[in-house]
Amino acid sequence: MKLKTSLASWALVAGCTLSGAALAAAPTPEMISFACAGCHGTNGGSAGLTMPSLANQSKSAIVDAMKKFKSGDRPSSIMGRLAKGYTDADFVAMGDFFSKQKFHATTQSLDPAKVKKGADLQEANCSRCHLDEGKDGKDDTPVMASQWLEYLKMQAALYDSGKRKMPKDMADKWNKLSKEDREALLHFFASVK
């Protein structure tokens, strides 16, 4: 019996080694990031409505968002629970992967009058950080262009309730805008292709 047990455990060890577990290379950015696509779309191009696109997102914005989800600084439902499964190096791998993906243009039903109003407002209020009509991010400023309106609305509601903290520069501008102006900005950024 003793011999059998010891043989069995040896077989188990050998099996593990042969299985490649010991030989496997560390997960690549693709290995880590592909798993996100079930919710965020293939290569981070979301099909909507509340899931943000990650494709072409600023690398530091992704790293920053994941760290905040993990610490709880940014409110979430499942993102915080998932972020706890990754290291800072994993976040960098995700940022690396998604920032290199092709921009995902969306087609949404938006209010043209709000889009126009938002276009005028963004120039004075947002364009210093959300560069090129929100197509480009500065440092950890996220890319806003073509994000789904539903997602943008949810984030705006989190900001307005104080649950998600705004950077000071943003709060200075955002808090002075009327409800209508804020909504117009969201329509504008959602419209940018």
Binding site: A24, A25, M31, A35, G41, M51, I78, R81, L82
Partner: protein, 436 residues
Amino acid sequence: MTLDRRSFIKVLGSASGLALAGCATQGSGPAVSAGSAAEIMPKTTRRVVVVGGGYGGTIAAKYVRMLDKSIEVVLIEANDHFVSCPFSNLYLGGILPSLDPLTIKYDKLAANHGIKFLQAMVTGIDATAHTVVTTKGTLKYDRLIVSPGIDFRTEEIEGYNDQTPELMPHAWKAGPQTVLLRKQLEAMKDGGAFVISIPLSPFRCPPGPYERTSMVAQYLKHHKPKSKLIVVDANPAIASKGPLFSAAWDKHYKGIIDYRKASKVTAINAGNKSVIIEGIDEVKGDVVNLIPPQRAAKIAQHAGLVGPDKRWCPIVADTFESTLQKGIHVIGDASIAGAMPKSGYSANSEAKVCAQNVVNLMNGKPIVAMSGINTCYSYVTTDEAISVAAVYTSKDGKIIAVPNSGGVSPKDFSLAKTEATFAKSWLNNILTEMSS
């Protein structure tokens, strides 16, 4: 085992035999047709064949092509469409008016990625000869990815026969069975009894039966309030998101749901439309949703992919290659994927891990350690849902959940309305990923 398989293929070659379910969406009726021995699509380049066009197979086919366009991919599926099990409980509960939003086709996926789609039933696999036998002919492969879904261990229920799924639908493969169960629920009189029988774990979609309980209960509450919902669960307790489901039932469906744990159905009495618990207690229903215990689909059993438990397919953690048959990879519900549950999102995530390492193996590159995710939402009312999420990695050849991560929704249901909208986006994105 090899002999068995070969003789099995021979039987099919001689134009008789029982066809095996080689797909995730297999209907309830037993399809009888023969495999054909003639080779179709002669192999001219490196080829991966994928069996099954569900949550796992579509993604495996797509990602192999995304990662290496020089590898030919043939996706074999018995049907020309796929109906998602996730969200089918909402149809059952009357929240979704049809199964159309849960149905995908394969044409866009095939065109976008240059996948060769073959609508055929897989009737045999010869691991030694690297050959798949289908109802339309045989195909050669370099590597085979099998995502075949589940089969039912109906032999463990005394009295179960070919007519039972009509009398007591399982509705555990979305499609005609789901429609049948919905019709029976609609036709049930107010004051009737609806019985759900839940098998012992592991089975496809651990929270699925409890979401179904919630959805049927909300239908009864609003449309047939004098009715009862009797849940006979073979498990010692609710198998997934237990405290959340219990709290939701207490809050919304008190007096409707009669939940009975550790109540294993061992027999049925068709004449009485009843199930028998442990050979003793008889529970009678006006509608009976009998979900039998499960194992890997028949094709996995016949291809020698099922392990000593005679139920599921053991695999190597990082590659999902069968530990029993070289060159064949098993993903989705049929596989023993360690800590990963038998869910649609798991299958999606496993398919990507598998695809990457299949491509690495074919290109002589090192295997990459797996990293995977499961996210799963369950509706508890018409507009509230709860979730479970986890991240997976491999350790010492086993797939484990990353410690101190993952978990379920907050106990106070403070996010339940938000999560219901997230669930819809989940479905939208995952079905879009599978079909384009």
